[in-house]
Assembly symmetry: C2
Homo-oligomer: 425 residues x 2
């Protein structure tokens, strides 16, 4: 299968240069790129980009996709009440098949925002894996010991996707957090990490309270706690990282851990603002995540990009903080790094064809003074014309090509949501 994307502007993200050219995709990878592609050769599919921009898809490096059922369910409430009275009791209602359907609504939204890959952390990862494979969406699932008390054999089974060549779904080892961990879970995670040699992913230092509690409980901060357990010996990522001290940052550097920032969620839940400028200045790799739809409530990389730079400017009282290209790198190249997707970060020959097209004819993209700045400071879902994953067009001109009757999906999900929303005493 050979696809030609012709007459485009191309931002490869190898650098900040935008060049006119074409891209040829053979099966799921880029086979030719540049101005000299033979656009009159024979192709199975030709898309005329009409001068619009092609760039690597966004990577949402921290999300809980199936939480769509809790979107807008309990906003404007205090954090503790929100978690313990609104979120957790409803999550107790979740059953296996629900994650499959609820996750699909999130997948559709990712496509509308040009997101071509996510790191997902939720119950029943096998069900989200099923949804991703069915739609053709790329995902890294966190395999965790969770409260549904998954036996170790199940965990190992869920990691088998890593053996598939060019598989869309991969798996790494995760935990929810230090504060929800039990001795049994730490032990199981240790075994999983040692057996598989995979990196480790967890929520960490999201709130000041979390760090304080860990200090009173253990006398050390969460980052040191996990490092002492050697969980980060093969790298990985922490989600949020709002409250990190210099020692935490030293560990992060030493272990090549990536910080996945979630500025919208941290703002809306009043958790704080991560010190992104400081982290970058210390050479830490920062990626971006939306967090789940219950806390954000959108799954929109444009929102995260705008906020990650905007909030640094505001908090540091310095409008120069975190220039636009740095932000785009977080949302693409660094996200790919967090996903261990070394062949999915830039547009180059041999790389995966996870490509989005930006509609430069939308008014927010006009006039063209600086496309990169336009994307970061004026962009929104409205400018996404195409989302391609693994060489397949899954979204074009607001239509989804995922083999699903969307209206019927919504009906099933609404029914499921109404059922799951009832809190059992």
């Amino acid at each position: 299968m050979k696809t030609l994307l012709k007459n485009a502007k191309i931002l490869s993200m190898k650098d900040d240069q935008i060049k006119e050219g074409h891209i040829v995709i053979t099966d799921n990878r880029i086979s030719e790129i540049g101005p000299n592609v033979d656009i009159n050769a024979s192709y199975d599919k030709i898309i005329d980009c009409e001068g619009n921009l092609l760039m690597p898809g966004f990577k949402d490096a921290h999300t809980h996709s199936a939480m769509t059922f809790l979107r807008s369910k309990a906003d404007d409430s205090a954090l503790h009440d929100w978690l313990f009275k609104e979120i957790f009791p409803r999550e107790d209602n979740l059953y296996k098949g629900s994650v499959y359907e609820l996750g699909k609504v999130a997948l559709l939204e990712y496509l509308t925002s040009g997101i071509t890959g996510v790191i997902d952390q939720y119950f029943f990862p096998e069900e989200f894996e099923r949804a991703c494979k069915e739609y053709g969406f790329r995902c890294v699932n966190l395999i965790m010991f969770d409260k549904t008390a998954r036996p170790m054999s199940d965990c190992y089974k869920l990691l088998e996707c890593n053996k598939e060549k060019d598989g869309l779904v991969r798996a790494v080892i995760g935990m929810h957090s230090e504060y929800t961990g039990t001795e049994e879970m730490f032990k199981a995670t240790d075994e999983l990490l040692n057996t598989t040699k995979l990196p480790f992913y967890t929520h960490l230092s999201e709130t000041a309270q979390e760090v304080d509690d860990c200090l009173s409980r253990r006398g050390i901060r969460p980052m040191k706690f996990f490092d002492d357990l050697h969980f980060f010996d093969r790298g990985g990522a922490i989600f949020h990282g709002v409250y990190l001290d210099d020692n935490d940052i030293n560990i992060i550097k030493k272990r090549n851990v990536i910080v996945v920032s979630n500025p919208a969620s941290n703002m809306k839940l009043a958790s704080g603002v991560a010190e992104i400028k400081k982290l970058l200045s210390k050479g830490v790799t920062v990626a971006l995540g939306t967090d789940g739809p219950a806390s954000n409530n959108a799954l929109d990389m444009f929102r995260e990009m705008y906020l990650v730079t905007g909030l640094q400017k505001l908090i540091l009282k310095d409008p120069v903080s975190i220039p636009a290209f740095e932000v785009l790198k977080m949302a693409t190249v660094n996200g790919a790094k967090a996903m261990n997707l070394s062949d999915g970060d830039t547009l180059e020959v041999g790389k995966l064809a996870d490509i989005i097209m930006i509609d430069l004819s939308r008014p927010s993209m006009q006039p063209i003074n600086n496309i990169i700045n336009n994307l970061v400071y004026a962009g929104e879902k409205d400018v996404i014309k195409m989302t391609m994953i693994n060489g397949k067009v899954l979204y074009y001109d607001r239509e989804f090509f995922v083999g699903e009757d969307i209206k019927e999906l919504y009906k099933r999900v609404q029914k499921m949501t109404d059922y799951l929303s009832v809190i059992k005493k």
Copy 2:
């Protein structure tokens, strides 16, 4: 001309109730609304809303539309350099016809964001008036003494639009700010206010520096300065209002002045966060504005809505701050108040047909737990299905109906932008 919008959910904004029903528009006003409308009667035009949401259009109560030519031109630079080295020298290049064309690009973007009316403040307001009338867009223009040294007779001429019955464009009296004002300008503005009995609009207390400078220059704060001049005796609005003390707020209350907040611009330019929760608790009416595309860089009411509540939650460390319906009121009803548009605030019989349709089938709006929260916390331009102003559909399914060849407009504007961008020594 009779138009039927049938099979809708309707959020009138009189309260937070959403009801099933239909709307009939006769010419430019709502003539029937509710579940009992005869949908089989004879209409000139019928739009089936298919269960989507109808609500009043958003009002962008502070913008500088024609600044599209400076969008993304000089982001990530320090405020003083940005203004004096990047913005002002290029604005010196502006000529009359340019504001007409540059303003149109902004009008298109407003339509994509469901914005049906703006308060605009810029050079050559007669040119923006021309663009609005041509497209059918609603606007309140600030008539100001500006550096192009407009004679008083011109100002009076520009105010004549107020005599038109049901005119789309109206005018009020404004000044840029205390800090750019001269004695001559204050005198002229005083005369205009006294002759016309119109309210007064100005930038005020946007930065801490501005307030400090006014204090050193005059010994009083900007709000007191203008109040001593009696400029706010007939109400009006201040733009930004980031740094207001209790005495400022007392004046604002006493004079029925509206505070137009611009959270995105204030964040991106590192100006600060207006104390919205405090203002609301004191009974001040707060509306929302995007500010111009050079500082924001989008003209998107969804961005402002998300930020106005998100930033309060963050700064006050309180996720309960400013619930979603309060935010929607700012963006609609309070914006209409700032525009003196008492017949354009809600959806009721006799009110102006400035109506938008929200596409509830977009994934970010699914599932439906709470439509109002969905709009404020998960909404974005992508969900705007229709924008109707004065009974006319100007935007539907991403197409513009404004009698313009959009591609040709972009070409002219790009040429103009390239010309205006050259800074003359």
